[in-house]
Amino acid sequence: MANLQFIALKTLWRKECTRFLRIWVQTLVPPAITMSLYFVIFGSLIGSRIGEMGGFSYMEFIVPGLIMMSVITNAYANVSSSFFSAKFQRNVEELLVAPLSNWIIILGFVGGGVARALLVGLIVTLVSLFFVDIQIHHPLMLVTTLVLTSTLFAAAGLVNAVYAKTFDDISVIPTFVLTPLTYLGGVFYSLTLLPEFWQWVSKANPIVYMVNGFRYGFLGVSDVGIGTSIAVLLAFNLALFATAWHLINKGVGIRS
């Protein structure tokens, strides 16, 4: 029985990876191009006029944030579009008739999103090497924030796709929630530059904790406590996985 579930998970995960690799022009190339542009424009052209930020060159400062930004978007987009199209084409029924548990469905889709997020993160990191020498201050913190952030947004993408009724419904959250929160999440600036009130407001933005936790892994500096970062990540993961489990169990949007 445990073996059945393990084989099922491997199969679903492999299928999810095959999907985003098959459409690599849509999934892997765009982040490489966008991020190169960010590096050129913000890092090299404008960054040289900005000077230091948090004790590092502006380029060094934004690299972790930009990696995190691509990890977030790709984890979310992979699961939301894959699960929604499985609903739309009805091939989600292949999973519903089979004896695999609902946890396997969740882990398989999330695992696919994490794989794409990490691969894109790696690509962006490699691109950044053309512009800056990367140092790693705290590898464990780096890996922890990276993995927890990708599982978090992969699970969020799944929840979104469960509720979605049209393709538009899976772009609403990324456009109106994720993008603003990411841009205001300390990718491009240190919170210490903000007036006190806006610093306080920013700390209600969960992405601040992810970007700063990740930046701490690279540079050893952070605007927020790293313990808090990990706690925020764990709490959101827990909440989203519980939601996903509840929805899939009840069959919301997939069983009539």
Binding site: K10, T11, P99, G251
Partner: protein, 316 residues
């Protein structure tokens, strides 16, 4: 011998209030070739959807090879291979990916899955296309792909929801042969259909469903003989002598009403000659409304419309 399927008191009310199943009981024996026949909207796909865990039931129980879906879902699911009414594979995946992944979801290791894929895709005449994306297949090929996919975990019972809809007569016949062959090897088969002809060709037992109720559940032979009998109600004068009819099934309802079953091939003359011999007068006669008969008229019409549609599809 075990029962492949036992359904009791199955009900389904969809959100929005459509009562698709109004309490269904059904038993299918292991090794049977069973037809669920009914007109459009009768509740066939709903029944199958519940058995296959695609639809949540409102009440009742479903037991598959002694495993109750409510108590032992994982095992119950493993017994079933499903061929749904509508195409539900990923159109962009290749045939091999589709069938091998499905095997994986049932816990079949990859190496075994690849061997079985070759076996079943070859049997269903799809092996040449194995590396093509599914969207490039014709309608008949897509149906056969779903049959191959359903067999990958070697289920004990294969459930097919209108497997031959939109398939030309030649491929339909080859699918029939294939299904008969795997049934001979011991797989229980349950299929839904609009075509009485199809059920007659293939099935040993049959249930007829209409408006969410089973209205007949019998052997194929029993059904055919029932369809060949017409029931008449004869009105006699009050206080007639009790007539006796040789060679007919009949029931005396009261002292002036007689109900007689007449095989279509025999005709009514025999009834009348015997009655007049016994001096029994017949005041009037009417045909007893026969629900089965009415249903069949509708089925035949459905079937005719479907074949017209099929032809339109074929000729573009």
């Amino acid at each position: 011998m075990q029962n492949a399927l036992e359904i009791q008191g199955l009900r389904k009310t969809y959100r929005g209030g459509v009562e698709a199943l109004k309490g269904i009981d059904l038993t299918v024996k292991e090794g049977d070739f069973f037809a669920l026949l009914g007109p459009n909207g009768a509740g066939k796909s709903t029944t199958i959807g519940i058995i296959a865990s695609l639809v949540n039931k409102s009440a009742g129980s479903v037991v598959i090879f002694a495993d109750d879906m409510d108590k032992n879902l994982v095992k119950a699911k493993s017994h079933i291979g499903l061929v749904p009414q509508e195409f539900n594979f990923n159109q962009f995946e290749t045939l091999l990916q589709i069938v091998c992944n499905q095997a994986g979801y049932y816990g079949v290791p990859r190496s075994v899955a690849i061997e079985r894929a070759e076996k079943y895709l070859k049997q269903l005449d799809l092996w040449e296309k194995r590396n093509m994306p599914a969207r490039t297949l014709s309608g008949g090929m897509k149906r056969r792909l779903m049959i191959a996919r359903a067999l990958m975990h070697e289920p004990k019972v294969l459930i097919l929801d209108e497997p031959t809809a939109g398939v030309d007569i030649e491929i339909r016949r080859s699918m029939w042969t294939f299904l008969q062959e795997i049934n001979r090897q011991g797989i229980t088969i349950i299929l839904t259909t609009h075509y009485l002809e199809e059920a007659e060709m293939l099935c040993r037992n049959i249930a007829i469903i209409d408006k969410g109720r089973i209205i007949e559940n019998t052997s194929m032979k029993g059904l055919l003989s029932k369809l060949n009998v017409e029931t008449f109600i004869l009105d006699l004068p009050p206080n007639s002598v009790k007539p006796r009819l040789e060679g007919f099934d009949y029931r005396q309802l009261d002292d002036h009403t007689l109900e007689v079953d007449v095989p279509k091939a025999t005709g009514l003359n025999g009834v009348f000659s015997q009655l007049s011999e016994q001096g029994v007068q017949v005041l009037s006669m009417r045909n007893k409304a026969n629900r089965l008969e009415e249903l069949f008229v509708r089925l035949v019409e459905d079937g005719r419309n479907q074949s017209i549609k099929d032809k339109e599809v074929q000729h573009g």
